[in-house]
Amino acid sequence: MEASRTDYFSLGEPKPDSMKLAVERRRATWLLIAPAFAVLLGLNLFPIVYALYISCHYWMLARPQPPRFAGLSNYQELFFDARFRNSVLVSLKFIVLAVGIEMLLGFGLAFVFNTRLRGMATLRKLTLLPSLVMPLVVGLVWFYMFNENFGIVNWFWVMLGGTRVPFLTQGALALLSIVATDVWQWTPFVMLVFFAALQALPEYVYEAARIDGLSGSQIFFRVTLPLLRPAILIVLIIRAVDALRSLELVFMMTKGGPAGDTEVLPWYLYTTGFMSLDLGYAAAMAVLMLALVTILSQLFVRQLESREVTS
């Protein structure tokens, strides 16, 4: 958004009116932006500050005792909290597995769909549906399908020669099941982004490459991949943050079990704050999570910014 192009105020306005127009312009800017800014100030910036405040207290909801100032003791306790460390680890495992698989699958599938063959466009449009379905319903149906006693996944597994598996109640399998569900839901989104990026690739670069006699794989690695780098980073960050904050699947399918194997950070935060009602401790976790998300969103913003410069 180059300032000079949009600042048409300076493009040959009749001078005698310039003062009036300047005032009007300032007023208009203010009127247009203020409402949205106010909403975000109140519901985004203020809660962050308030969360910091809460995190410095011993604050139990629904107790007769009023909240008590506690300095940084909540953070100190978090540092020694094995369950917190576990939740961060589980979240990390989840993000790396789920997002990793989504990126690879989505990337590959984008090439598959990148064609004018008849009917492919319709198929492609159909594949987006999982990404738009209410995550809670996604959890519900996969909970049904993974069920030990009447689930369809078990039926397939038995058909392939296995025995009935308790997908959601057995240690490492539980997390893998959640990962699989997330992959089902979000691979289409990743694929769509890569597909659009592929479609937007400039034709002339390829013609030049072909004229230069580059082979197929050379074109892929030296031309396509670098051109797709911005899209890759953007979708990676979006998926990483969304996977970090997602709660619905664990909520519907495993509730953090068995024995904390699927207790991701959002789930530990949620049970601490709204089951045990220990708001002070939950706020401390929230602040840490916000710090992490801020770092990631800064990366995103920086990536977007560099794109603007080139486009």
Binding site: M1, T6, D7, Y8, T29, P35, L40, G42, N44, P47, I48, Y50, A51, L109, V112, T115, L117, L126, L128, L129, P130, L132, V133, L136, L140, V141, Y144, F150, I152, W184, P188, L192, V193, A196, Q199, A200, L201, Y206, G216, F220, T224, A231, L244, R245, L247, L269, Y270, G273, F274, A283, M285, A286, M289, L290, V293, L296, S297, F300, V301, R307
Partner: protein, 293 residues
């Protein structure tokens, strides 16, 4: 495998990649069909389970041919032990609609402001607004719950409406900013010369020209509001409870009312599917915040 682009004109110009093009085409269809089937299958399960009888739902091996019944839908909507799903449905509609409206109105205004005017700190403000897209509800719910409680607005429609508006603003602003900046400046300059005020130009000239952007951001905002569950679950109980709250009350260890919940799940999912099929064109731009067009 051909990498890069396969454009129609290549084929038309008679540049055949190789004699191996045909098997590749079949392979593409195969992979695409398998993937599409995999994507659609669970949706099929939701619908069929909602139409199955209780014995069919628990049957092993799973039943593929069954006699459909509307009993589950009927139970969920009119019977089911006292609290029907209808009030949840209505709340979802109201809250999604109003919050979408607000997000689009406030967002369009701000987007125009960003597109057309410059002021100190604009870049920082714009990127801060963008970053609000990543706000994790589970972290924000702690302070927001207390804020809403102290304001006496628990279990009210207005609380959720405002929160969802805030949730969707960054999307609307960011996308519409792009649309507004694509409007040729001459049109607005002409209107300025004709004596229109800036706000009038926004309302009468610019806004109508970004209608496609408005439609797609409205639909996306509506979808996000409709699907949102954490804020709804913690901040409402009965009066303003939305569909996700109903669904979140599901528990395997009591009642096992799969049919009814799948029926409600169908109702929760169907409108989205219908809308987005219509909206494909601007979806990518919307979902990636204009990073990819």
């Amino acid at each position: 495998m051909t990498v890069g682009l396969v454009r129609n004109k290549d084929l038309k110009a008679g540049i055949r990649r190789s004699a191996a093009a045909w098997p590749i085409g079949t392979l593409r269809y195969l992979v695409a069909a398998i993937f599409t089937g995999f994507c659609l299958f669970p949706l099929y399960v939701i619908l069929t389970t909602a139409l199955k009888t209780e014995t069919a739902i628990f049957a092993w091996p799973p039943v593929w041919n069954f006699r459909p019944t509307l009993q589950s839908f009927y139970n969920a909507l009119f019977v089911f032990g006292g609290r029907s799903a209808i009030s949840y449905l209505i709340n979802s509609v109201i809250i999604s609609a109003v919050s979408t409206f607000l997000a689009v109105v406030l967002g369009a205004m701000a987007a125009y402001g960003f597109a057309r005017f410059s002021f100190a700190g604009k870049r920082h403000l714009a990127f801060w607004i963008l970053s609000t897209r990543f706000a994790p509800p589970v972290a924000f719910i702690v302070p927001i719950y207390l804020m809403v409680q102290k304001a006496g607005m628990l279990d009210s429609h207005i609380a959720l409406i405002l929160i969802y508006t805030a949730m969707n603003l960054s999307l609307v602003i960011w996308i519409l900013r792009g649309f507004f900046s694509e409007i040729p400046i001459e049109i607005e300059e002409a209107a300025l010369v004709d004596g229109y005020s800036r706000l009038q130009i926004f309302w009468r000239v610019a806004l109508p020209l970004v209608r496609p952007g408005i439609v797609s951001t409205a639909i996306l905002s509506a979808i996000f509001s409709w699907n949102e569950f954490l804020y709804a679950m913690v901040l409402t109980q009965s009066k303003a409870a939305t569909l996700p709250v109903y669904l979140a009350g599901f528990s395997n260890s009591m009642g096992l009312a799969w049919g009814e919940y799948m029926a409600v799940g169908t109702m929760a999912v169907l409108p989205i599917l219908v809308f987005t099929f219509a909206l494909q064109k601007h979806l990518v731009r919307g979902l990636t915040f204009g990073a990819v067009k």
